[in-house]
Symmetry: C2
Subunit: 316 residues, 2 copies
């Protein structure tokens, strides 16, 4: 099968062996996949992953022992837990210490014709959603995780830092709470997407006097964390979404004195993401920059690295 592999370099191969599922796994024919900033960080050394990249996808089940999923169009949760540890038993397999994560840790990902995933990770995609929408379920779920971890109420002031894919999704999700929301980003064209939806958005240079109860850091850059520390009010909460290969430096005294809480936030609820997309509450169609066939995968990665790029999709 065709696959985009990161070994020491990024390569496209035509003859990668098609994977064979175990009894509790499904073989999925990938229809479409999205390039995430995490994929770009992996190219810089993040997680030390080597293999087929990709963890955002939609595809069709081509073989599995569970008739419920046979032939169905699905998206899938990316963490493959051991199933028996305390985390898996508590329904938190995304924190299983022995987990694989497709395209990130120890398991091939979705930038290929076929993908293997445990059946329990699958979610059926409603017919009303296009593939271009369904491929956003994984990052939208990650954006929704902010609300699973932090209560955001009307009256709260909230700043989202970053106008990339995750920032734009997080902003749309958070705006549903009725809070006072401001997005800070570097790209006027991306900020305009939010403004058209009635969400306030400004350049960093316009944020001098801002302060917020909650700051959601989605910039994918160490400078975003520095800005978050400046923008947060005493007793405020900073939600950290960016997975960075680099270290960051900070002075902990500010956090201690002002009793700031820093919350690491990662994968979120697929069911809620599917529901919001189906209801049309979150609009992701404006977030697609380009769609490339898998054979042009290297070009797709170059496009995804461009500063003005949003979501770049791969079509299998």
């Amino acid at each position: 099968m065709r696959a985009i592999i990161f070994w020491d370099n990024l390569e496209i191969v035509d003859d990668y062996p098609k994977p064979v599922p175990q009894p509790d796994e499904a073989l999925i024919r990938v229809s479409m996949a999205g390039i995430c900033n995490t994929d770009l960080e992996i190219l810089k050394g993040y997680m030390g992953f080597k293999g087929i990249l990709g963890h955002e996808f939609v595809g069709v089940v081509d073989g599995c022992d569970d008739m419920e999923f046979w032939g169905k169009r699905v998206v899938g949760e990316i963490n493959c837990g051991c199933g028996s540890c305390q985390y898996c038993q508590a329904g938190q397999s995304r924190h299983c210490l022995n987990r694989n994560v497709i395209g990130i840790v120890k398991q091939d990902g979705a930038f290929a014709d076929y993908l293997i995933l445990p059946i329990k990770n699958l979610h059926i995609v409603p017919e009303s959603l296009s593939n271009e929408e369904a491929v956003f379920v994984e990052p939208l779920a990650a954006a929704l995780q902010v609300l699973e971890q932090v209560e955001i109420k009307m009256g709260n002031s909230v700043i989202v830092i970053g106008d990339g894919k995750l920032g734009l999704l997080a902003a749309q999700v958070i705006s549903q709470t009725g809070c006072s929301l401001m997005v800070i980003g570097h790209h006027p064209s991306k900020l305009n997407i939010l403004k058209e939806k009635g969400i306030s958005a400004i350049l960093p240079s316009q944020a001098d006097s801002l302060k917020a109860d909650i700051v959601v850091e989605c910039s994918g850059s160490p400078s975003g964390f520095v800005l978050a520390q400046r923008l947060i009010k005493p007793m405020g909460k900073i939600v950290m979404k960016s997975t960075l290969a680099e270290d960051i430096t900070f002075n902990p005294a500010n956090m201690v004195i002002n009793e700031i809480t820093l919350i690491g936030s990662r994968c979120g609820p697929f069911d809620k993401a599917l529901h919001l997309l189906e209801q049309g509450v979150i609009d992701v169609r404006g977030l697609v920059s380009a769609v490339y066939p898998i054979k042009d995968g290297l070009k797709a990665f170059e496009a995804a690295k461009a500063h003005d790029s949003l979501k770049v999709l791969l079509k299998m």
Copy 2:
């Protein structure tokens, strides 16, 4: 009056002008004061403070317009808020953006014969408590703040990092919750104080395989934060108590992936601290290393810097 002043160096003076209280303030004759790690950090440049050091004290009200406090033995909260901002109005004057903090920010502290403090900051000390005990109210309240911010239950595994004054107080406070508690410190003599109270305590070299739901970082050292990151379980909470002059470097990916929460924690409830001391639940008498007269203040600071030192007190 006599005072220990940090200007560019630490000095003891005999002729510092006695402060004059405003109508809403009390003049307090200081009986005893404690040297805190924060004082030692100020000598290294922390907060850029210049003036009379000291924020842990017990004294007698020598003049104030409120008869309730006249002549009474008191301890006092260290944050002096403006009284009118949103934080002060919400009872959170410790986070007032315009606050003074005695011995730390813009206001002279307690290492002197007299001290000025707003009347609303005062708490009367029960007669059953000695001065040596009452001087621990401020740091004990800071230790209790951990429980105000994080729910610790039986069944939780908790590690306290640091066997200094704050670590030993935090350990005693946390042990009251019935959780599974372990303290990690470098000093066998200090760890023994805890072991005698039935609290488990080990050296860092013995902590290789430990993991906890909650880690309370009281080491006063950047290395304590590195250790905290290694010891915390996925979805765990790290409470940061150390106020450091230095920056710390860390990789945020670990925090994001494992959804760790980092909670800055500072001043706490004086009323609860007084109550616990009065009830004899927390024993602070074993935590005093030495008592020096104020005229030997420089020697007292040298003693407080020693690695095997616990609380060094100044007697006025």
